[in-house]
């Protein structure tokens, strides 16, 4: 791994240089070209209310639109930095309990009719209909109603003011065509023809979906914000990572969105392929279960004690661990967030790596190595616990092994239990674990932290480690009701600091995300909340196009375009 460091640094420099906008290339950004994405999974359906799969989300983002999108800073408090999509403009009521969105009068559904305010109201009704079973519905709970004021104006009414209410209205729903869906059986929408042959208002239109082989979109030349540069985008499905990587290397594909650390070295021998770094919302951590998995009414015999958790955190050299697992392709995480989150704060004090202090703290809590066998005990119980790890994740497995050794240095005996991904998920959901190797992708909304760490989420949510802190709950509640971004940020900072101090988890790594792509592809605006969100702005300069870039728009006239 060490030998690869110079190669990686060179590629990093190339990647960063590639991010700078090349003015001369931009001038050459005439329309045309085909982008083939080597995708690891097929879409499950193309119907936004029911989407849980990343490929579905990528495709839908090109076909359907939000009312507005956040700027690159991903500000979710208020509307600062937001850019209109289907909505040309918006206005707040004086009491901030309603927002009126003005639909772009030029917006058209891809089958012809104009997009109207009634489509937005219809979409809200559909997302919140219990018969549909949308995963998004609960996120819309603060919307009281959606009312059509005139054919192009739709008003969102809220039950209460909240800093994220604009994001909720503008970004949680992709707007759907009422004229195509109003008569559909809502219980069967997932298996409807529309969900496999969608019609939207976005920059690309649906062409075909050959299950588990490809999904093809074509430029929507009537797009109200201007035709996308690319003629065509194809998701070419290759579930095996090696096959997907080989597709890129052999030129059959243009982009691979995710790279493994070991792939940088072979790529260095391919000057026709470049690596591009993009911001990410993914972080990894070792989660402690604070309740006894065998009897949840009792605290966990080890992790129920805050001091022990802090001591075990001190035993982990996170800088070394990240270096060993990712080389220079990740940085140590400092909390349940990444640099791309709008409320990120690099000043959060961390529990330092201090094995001697860790040993002293464990001594102080009664965990001592009385029999001299190298492992600590207390009341006849060894300081021994199991870390559950999904076997599909090599970095998590490596990190677990390294931590096992670091825990051993302070007399804590960690055992690793590998399992497949669904089993790992169900063990966490059932709270049947001591410690769990986890990665999480934030949705970019700061208040989401409530669903993962609040007391309310212990029983009815995803607080799998059962961390409970009334002070944390109060801080996040204050932050989530604060309309002033600076004040909200200050509350979030205190909440983050409390999490760092209470150590409900050891924050481990924040992997840097790299895509590998052919040199002729010029990506624009790859964002943390989705590298694919601005595909309409990507381009292939005329002078660099290959045969598949010249096939044109219409399937019937290959020479056209």
């Amino acid at each position: 791994m060490r030998a690869t460091a110079p190669v990686i640094l060179t590629l990093l420099a190339t990647a960063l240089a590639g991010c700078r906008k090349d003015a001369s290339a931009a001038r050459d950004a005439a329309n045309g070209g085909t982008l083939v994405i080597s995708s690891g999974s097929d879409a499950t359906l193309l119907f936004p209310p029911l989407t849980v799969n990343v490929t579905s989300a990528q495709v839908e983002a090109q076909i359907f639109e939000h009312l507005a999108e956040p700027g690159p800073e991903l500000n979710m408090i208020g509307d600062e930095g937001w850019e209109g999509r289907l909505a040309r403009s918006w206005s707040w009521s004086p009491d901030s309990l309603s927002i009126a969105f003005r639909i772009d009068s030029m917006a058209r559904w891809q089958d012809g009719p104009p997009v109207r305010a009634s489509d937005v109201a219809f979409t809200y009704g559909l997302y919140t209909d219990s018969l549909v079973g949308s995963t998004v519905a609960p996120l819309l709970s603060e919307i009281d109603s959606v009312v059509v004021r005139d054919s192009l104006t739709v008003v969102f009414w809220f039950s209460h003011r909240s800093p994220e209410q604009f994001a909720t209205a503008a970004m949680q729903m992709r707007i759907l065509p009422e004229h195509l869906l109003s008569r559909a059986d809502r219980k069967e929408l997932a298996s409807s023809d529309f969900a496999r042959n969608p019609v939207g208002s976005g920059p690309f239109r649906f062409v075909r979906w050959v299950p588990r082989q490809l999904i093809e979109l074509e430029a929507n030349t009537e797009y109200h914000l201007g035709r996308p540069h690319l003629d065509r985008v194809i998701w070419s499905i290759a579930p095996d990572y090696n096959a997907a990587f080989m597709r890129l290397m052999s030129g059959d594909a243009d982009i691979l969105e995710y790279m493994r650390p070991g792939d940088f070295e072979p790529l260095a021998k391919h000057p026709e392929i470049k690596t591009v770094r993009y911001p990410s919302l993914i972080y990894g951590f070792l989660l402690f279960n604070e309740r006894d998995p065998n009897d949840r009414s009792r605290p966990h015999p080890i992790f129920g004690d805050r001091t022990v958790r802090r001591a075990l955190t001190m035993a982990i050299d996170r800088v070394q661990l990240v270096r060993s697992v990712y080389d220079s392709l990740a940085v140590p995480a400092i909390g349940p967030f990444t640099e791309a989150l709008s409320t990120y704060d690099s000043t959060i004090r961390q529990i330092p790596y201090a094995p001697d202090s860790a040993a002293a703290l464990l001594d102080a809590t009664g965990w001592r190595d009385a029999d001299g066998d190298g492992w600590r005990e207390k009341n006849g119980r060894q300081l021994r616990f199991t870390i559950i790890v999904p076997s599909s994740s090599t970095p998590r497995m490596r990190a677990a092994v390294i931590m096992q050794e670091m825990f051993k240095q302070v007399g804590a005996r960690a055992e690793i239990e590998q399992m497949d991904f669904p089993t790992h998920g169900s063990r966490q959901e059932a709270r049947r674990f001591d410690a769990s190797m986890n990665t999480m992708s934030s949705d970019g909304v700061p208040s989401t932290i409530r669903q993962l760490w609040s007391t309310a989420a212990v029983k009815e949510g995803s607080n799998y480690g059962s961390y409970e802190s009334p002070r944390f709950d109060a801080l996040v509640d204050s932050a989530a009701s604060q309309m002033n971004p600076e004040k909200a940020g200050a509350y979030y900072r205190q909440a983050y600091q409390l999490l760092a101090d209470d150590a409900p988890a050891i924050w481990l790594f924040e992997p840097l995300s790299f895509a590998a792509m052919q040199q002729r592809i010029h990506p624009e605006g790859m964002r943390a909340n989705g590298w694919w969100l601005n595909l309409k702005d990507w381009y292939i300069p005329q002078g660099e196009r290959i045969a598949r870039d010249r096939v044109g728009l219409s399937r019937e006239s290959p020479a056209g375009g």
Binding site: N242, R427, S462
Partner: protein
């Protein structure tokens, strides 16, 4: 003959039912369910999970789920796949032809090439050709299928760039091709996955064929044929080969499950959208309905393959009486 077929068919139905039931029970004993394995985002509200669990009937007692499953199989629908959001029958209808195409081509190549190599080896026993082909077939026979698939990918798709790395057709240009060019493109994409599967089986067929032929060549009727003045070529092709086919026919029956197993890896490596990759995904997403349906279809294929092998036995060896 018809009585035998009916009896075998009845046995086959029982076997398939037993396999399907066992799969159903084992799957339900494993941790997780299709909803939790599909809605993996921890931010998914519990109410949404519960809604889908209830709607899919996963909260029913096991015996009721089993009964619902049996009735849906009997009606030919195989139930609903939550991860695919479609009826299982629709998902199978897309995947099964792709696997049958891959396996069909692989079987034809494997048995034609394997028999030919076996005959050549038997005729050249002890000579360099026999020695070379023997080592070659042993090499492929002992090779793990996933490793062979990866090596084929590396050598022919990446280093030599002779064949496409994956998929069933060119994702961009296929739509712009004429019928002949499309057929050629399909064949081009079939070479590596079918070739890999065929290589794995060819080696076994060749080894069996060689041994069988050498044994038959020592028997009285072969000696008589030679004594009549027939040439070695005629002795082998006209008299010995049919008798030496019996072990190879046995191998044909056994090759079907082996090919289905091998296709899991080969389809994954070459992104071939058949039953193999479908099975892997179904396991990963705890897709009970789909996985049980896959097991039913594959066990039915194996049962059918064995029945075909029995019929071929009777054709190859008149001493075998069907029904006895």
């Amino acid at each position: 003959m018809i009585a035998l077929l009916l009896r075998r068919l009845a046995q086959g139905v029982v076997i398939v039912w037993l396999v399907a039931t066992l799969t159903f029970l084992l799957l339900h004993a494993a941790p997780g369910d299709p909803v939790s394995a599909t809605l993996t985002d921890p931010l998914t509200p519990p109410a949404v999970r519960e809604y889908w669990v209830h709607r899919l009937g996963l909260d029913l007692p096991l015996h009721q789920q089993y009964w619902h499953y049996l009735t849906s199989v009997a009606s030919g629908g195989f139930g609903f796949s939550f991860p695919h959001h479609r009826p299982v029958s629709a998902v199978l209808a897309e995947a099964l032809p792709n696997t049958l195409l891959l396996m069909g081509v692989a079987i034809v190549i494997a048995f034609a090439a394997g028999i030919l190599i076996g005959v050549v080896q038997a005729r050249r026993k002890g000579k360099p050709v026999d020695w070379g082909l023997g080592i070659g077939s042993l090499f492929f026979y002992s090779m793990p299928d996933f490793w062979l698939a990866l090596m084929m990918l590396l050598v022919f798709a990446y280093w030599l760039r002779l064949f496409p790395a994956s998929g069933m057709f060119d994702p961009v240009m296929y739509g712009f091709m004429g019928p002949w060019a499309r057929a050629a493109d399909r064949l081009w994409h079939l070479v590596l996955p079918a070739g890999t599967l065929a290589l794995l089986v060819t080696a076994a067929v060749a080894r069996f064929q060689r041994s069988a032929l050498l044994e038959v060549a020592q028997q009285d009727f072969a000696r008589t044929a030679r004594a009549k003045g027939l040439g070695e070529r005629a002795v082998i092709w006209r008299h010995s080969l049919r008798n030496a086919l019996l072990p190879v026919i046995t191998l044909f029956g056994l090759a079907l499950p082996a090919l289905l197993g091998g296709s899991v890896f080969v389809e994954s490596v070459f992104s071939w959208p058949g039953m193999g990759t479908l099975t892997v995904n179904a396991i990963a997403t705890r897709d009970y309905q789909l996985l049980t349906a896959v097991v039913i279809v594959t066990s039915a294929l194996v049962v059918t393959g064995n029945l075909v092998a029995d019929l071929l036995y009777a054709w190859a060896d008149p001493r075998v009486r069907l029904g006895e």
